[in-house]
Symmetry: C2
Subunit: 451 residues, 2 copies
């Protein structure tokens, strides 16, 4: 939907709400894709959202609710009673329902589960037992699985039966006599083979699957590597548990990017839909306070060199540029390594090669930046000897930051910590302080030797 259409729909919805016209509202929701309607709802006021969900038919309400960003979804759910939520989630696929319940308190989720029928709650409980960021947490229960003894014709009968249950069906999975996953058949093959053919003759026994506990980032890597459109999830014994589809993987990729960004900047990845400024503020503040604390440590370090600065006050003018050089270099090196780890392009095989490359880059860039700064300082203070010292300091600062920036992600990864943390405030602060020590230390040594 284009921006202009969205504005038009927005106005129509507002109109229907203000006239309390439930029929007109349902009509509008029928007309447009639920993903678009979710966007529009995110731009409405809380009481307008509440009105919509209190009058919309349960199926339409569910389809839209699942598309709404988590902070707004939570706010809407808080205003609906358990009975209504139970009716709405019963209309959804199990995995979407589980996602919505996962946004509620455990207690409330249990109450709502009890109100739903036994079929629904059994499926949901199956899904809710897995961690949110694992293969089990993102899988759905809609798939077609058939025994190895089937013929093509029998499989087609099964598909015909499940036609309306399983929406995006591209492959059928084959189970052996112990119900373990043993092969995969594409719908294309089913369509083009004779009805009497045995499934074992046409199936591909090399089916790529993941255990339910596998981290979602690793699952995404497998999808990308093999250009998959869906993938079966199995338990430790090889029993088929569920299915992950390509659209789940796109969500995972975007979430992982958000997570990395949030570690890089201290801003929550999903906060764009957050409406409480206190929540946003609380999320961002620790990063800022860390920065202030680092800055205070930097002030203490500078204080040690007070006599040097008193001698030549202009040296203090260049504190920010020295720190900036170190910070930028470190961020560049760390971002590339962290991103390479996230996409799987950096493996642990070539740490030494990577570090050596970064050292060479830092050497060149250090000479360029340090040289430029040294020239300016030399000209400014009419003291090219001091300028050369500042240039040397610049080179060392850049090399130091290039090294820490590229090495720390590897160290964090080895320790089982998310390497994206290396692009955050800790490394920046560390580089700031090391940079100050190099700059002020070298200059002090130089001034001491010339007095």
């Amino acid at each position: 939907m284009h921006m202009t259409d969205k504005k038009f729909v927005f106005k129509r919805i507002r109109g229907a709400i203000h006239q309390q016209d439930a029929g007109a509202l349902a009509g509008i929701f029928d007309e447009y894709p639920s993903a678009d309607m979710a966007d529009v709802i995110e731009h409405l006021e809380p009481d307008e959202r509440f009105f919509i969900f209190s009058v919309l038919p349960a199926e339409a309400a569910g389809e839209v609710l699942k598309e709404i960003e988590s902070p707004v979804q939570k706010q809407i759910l808080a205003g609906l009673d358990n009975q209504l939520v139970s009716v709405i989630i019963t209309q959804l696929d199990a995995d979407d329902a589980a996602d919505i319940l996962g946004n509620l308190s455990e207690e409330r989720a249990e109450d709502i589960l009890e109100m739903s029928g036994p079929d629904v709650s059994r499926e949901l409980e199956k899904l809710l037992q897995y961690g949110k960021e694992t293969a089990g947490g993102i899988m759905d229960l809609e798939y077609v699985a058939i025994p190895e003894t089937s013929t093509v014709g029998e499989v087609i009968d099964v598909i015909r039966e499940k036609k309306h249950q399983v929406k995006n069906l591209y492959h059928v999975w084959v189970l052996d006599h112990l119900d373990r996953l043993s092969g995969v058949v594409s719908l294309k093959d089913l369509l083009t083979e004779a009805l009497g053919r045995k499934i074992t003759d046409i199936m591909n026994p090399e089916v790529i699957s993941v255990p339910a506990g596998q981290d979602q980032e690793e699952v995404a890597r497998l999808f990308k590597k093999h250009d998959l459109v869906n993938m079966p999830v199995v338990d430790d014994g090889g029993l088929l548990l569920g299915r992950i589809t390509h659209d789940d993987i796109i969500d995972v990729i975007e979430k992982e990017v958000d997570e990395d960004l949030s570690l890089m900047t201290g801003a929550m990845g999903h906060e764009i839909a957050e409406e409480s400024f206190l929540k946003i503020s609380r999320a961002r503040l620790p990063w800022l306070i860390t920065g202030v604390a680092g800055g205070i440590v930097a002030a203490v370090v500078i204080n040690q060199f007070e006599t040097t600065l008193e001698e030549i006050i202009a040296l203090s003018f260049f504190l920010p540029v020295i720190m900036g050089m170190g910070g930028n270099t470190g961020t560049q090196a760390a971002t590339i390594v962290v991103r390479g780890m996230a996409t799987g392009d950096v493996s642990l095989v070539n740490i030494r090669k990577r570090l050596w490359l970064e050292m060479k880059v830092a050497f060149i860039n250090g000479i360029a930046c340090g040289g430029l700064l040294g020239l300016i300082v030399g000209w400014w203070l009419s003291d090219y000897a001091l300028g050369s010292i500042v240039a040397l300091a610049g080179v060392l600062v850049v090399i130091n930051s290039g090294f820490t920036g590229s090495a720390v992600p590897f160290v964090l990864n080895k320790c089982g910590i998310d390497p994206a943390l290396a692009t955050g405030p800790f490394i920046t602060t560390l580089n700031d302080i090391l940079g100050l020590l190099i700059y002020l230390g070298l200059v002090t040594l130089f001034l001491g030797s010339t007095i």
Copy 2:
């Protein structure tokens, strides 16, 4: 493939290369998925890579070559003669072949096109005419399209014929009597409907398609919004031109993230596979030099306040922390807005709402950070009046950065510039300088009034 397997394969390949054993090499490449082999090749030395591509059968060579990251791919292609490249790309799907040719100079690509047969070069020329980042640039030519007059049985016959040509087939597109796209049928529907049914009875006429010139980021947004697995590309008259598949879209999403990161940090997104340190250095240097230039402007600004700093030299100790506060706040606000624009969560509808929210967040965080800094400065200098002034400066610096950080992406977007630039050095530098002016200006006013 696990890391340990990869190391094992790595050793086997090295062994085969050193024994010049082409048969053993081909055997290893037969054994593992080409995406994994591409990873291994990226870790080999240039002459080892060259040996592999000079002895590997053309089909295996093509499948691996297309998976190799662009900088390494270029290095390999530079070592192969045109005849060999032509044989290799003839084995590939048209879109993969076009991607490889796109990595060569125009002249060399034309020479290679001429050596390929007329069928291959006609298809390739069709693809090469579209911009790399458009729907036409990422589409392939493998699809099944059928006339509206077909029956289910006739469509299945067409699929049987094209079975080996079209690899990932999940939908069939329907064309009207003028060959314009008029509907879509899923393989699931074909499988479960009677052979004699008319395709117009079961097709979905509301097929989501894009024009060939559409930007790939917009295409990705449509895929995500509608959970698509593939999408037809049409010309202005509605004629079907090609197909975009879900794996192309995952590539687009990752490339856009890389692009944003590279605008944020000045490091090339794809540089992880780059091996020339001069190229990496050249890519990163402009960003660093901009930072140095900004730092020099900051030094000039500080210089204006030399008498203030001479009076209380300790005020210079806090220059880095003031600049850090502004920089961090601006980056947080800009990152969230830029990311929201990339994922489509921020639309132009709610600029005012967003800015107001950011102002409230900045106000709270400014009071927290500014207050903390003011207390420390007050205690350090035993002058709580001066501390209060520094606190006020801190609040204003954070509010200013929060505003520029969140407003500039909108302004850039309006001007048709990639908003990710707002997270780069220009805004940081701007905020640094404004922050210094606020801090030193306020302190100078205060000292002037107390003397």
